[in-house]
Amino acid sequence: MNHFPVIRTEHLSIGYTLPGGNDFEIVNNIHVCAGEGEMIAVLGKNGCGKSTLLRTLAHLQQPLGGRVYIHEKENSQYRLAELARKVSFVSTEPVRLHHMTVYELVALGRTPYAGWFGFMNEEDKQIIRRAMEEAGIIHLQQKHLDELSDGERQRAMIARTLAQDTPLILLDEPTAFLDVSNRYEIIHLLRRLSRTKNKTVIYSTHELNIALGESDQLWLFTGKEVVQGTPEDLVFEGKMARAFDSSQLHFDLLTGEFSGKQAGGKSVYVSSADRQLKEWTKRFFIRNGFVVSSSAKADMQVEVSRTEESICWKIQDAGREILLHGSFSMLQKNIKDFSGVKN
């Protein structure tokens, strides 16, 4: 395996040049790198510069300073067609061309290799076929793009990058318009490509679960800088929490999820022999504005148990004890008596 990074940046500063010549800098001094076959998620809040970074790496946009090296050569030093054989790009804006077939779309990926007229030889056609097979859309090749689902269309866009046959694939929010199962399918497809085809995949996302669970490295926008690390390190060093924390959100180190903070919420301690039941009861209280406490000295204590017919909650609140039997919707109906907000 090659130890040189496929892509790396040096003192990179990204942003826009405003009309009038002033620079609007988003983040500066970015040092990140990606090796062969690595899957990298770019994480950060909205407007933090994820897209700008990806576009700068792909040389679709000029950096305000610093350098981007692709295979140890500066990306601005490549000829256009040469760079297009190193980096392929999938942008956020969905392609809506009703009259284009999947095959036609994927075949466009051969543009950097084809001559002026774009004629395809046997080898090109083979590559296009294989790209469609890899992406699992070979059976759709004669369909028009308006006949595809969002997930299938995204696969077609990825097949196009495979036809472009680049070691580096950049994707700007590839899961943005997809439902949960499609999101995971697309990410697993990318994961497989990075593992089996040794592609370096860099994608931006808002999905914390996906980024933490499915990437080798994270590039995390913390506001002032971009930090690189394995997902676990970034979580344990508290950088993840710092990047997203706000007065409204709380990053849970245990689950790797964010939950809403509610100021002044009553604290509740949940205990049970049934772990599943305990977990969902906790969620229920959080959803209703309580703060779940890990100490039994909370404002309110709840003990949950399950019988064959129903669930039983034993609630101790300010000296009174109440027993509730039934389902969660029954609990919901009675929850107002124990309002999560302190008076």
Partner: protein, 338 residues
Amino acid sequence: MFFLFALFSVLLLILFFVDLCTGSVFIPVKEVISVLSGHKSSVPEWHFIVTDYRLPKAWVALFAGMALSVSGLQMQTLFRNPLAGPYVLGIMSGANLGVALLVMGVSWFIHGEYAGIVGSFSVVAAAWTGAFVVLLLVMMVSLRVNDMMTLLVLGMLFTGASSAVVNMLQYFTHESALKTFVVWTMGSLSGISPDDLYIFIPPIVAGLFLSFMMSQKMNVLLLGDTYARSMGLNIRFIRWMIFISTCLLAGTVTAFCGPIGFIGVVVPHLARMFFRTTNHWILHGACMLLGGMLLLSGDILSRLPGHAVQLPVDAVTALIGIPVMIWIIVKNFRFVSV
């Protein structure tokens, strides 16, 4: 697909021939054939009408139809906008302004005699100059503005400004000069002599050739600038080639025939609906065939048999083209898109 191409080619030939056979003077089909095959007609006037009047006109209809349709296709692809047409860059308004300045400007200085000065060739030159100046302006703007939507809006603003100037001119000008101008703006395929064809056809052939050469690039351009660049295209070069081609096509047609707007917008849609593809190699061919067909039919229907009256060809093409378009949209229930 080959069937459609063959069918349309045959239809185009038939329409071309029908165009030669119809007109205000009745000439038997047999006589038209004999004139075309190089024989003398039994009536000398008929011979003259066919070779010097109807044949040039049919050629103009054919080439203008092809040119406007291909130019419309280019603009729809370049701007990725189904409403774009040959004139979105402001080429027509540039030509308009050129002709208006010539026809009405000259009438201020030379009273009575301007009719001769504004003969066909100087009008052509004025329209061409106007179109070319606009092209240069667009290219200069596109050096600074990278966003195509902004360019579209600027084209619209320029059209507005030049029509304001034209309106002012119309207000202050003599009646007869005004009429010359208004007649020009209605668009006409006649008024081109066989000799004019040598000036009319070469720029159009050049424009069509240039456009054909850009077919593959236009396929990529459809995905948008980001994708086109990420696949290694030199966007600026391609845009300029398309601008030049459109100026050659739309500029020449406008210069000789006046503004004929409708078919440039509609034919690319017809082509996409019939052939169900975004491949510009096919769309170029389809646009040329359908564009030629539509303008020839427009020309045939704009001449009422037995009358010297001729309806404005633009209006007639719109009247036959719009129902066809609506019928196809409703029947196929397809989205109209580029």
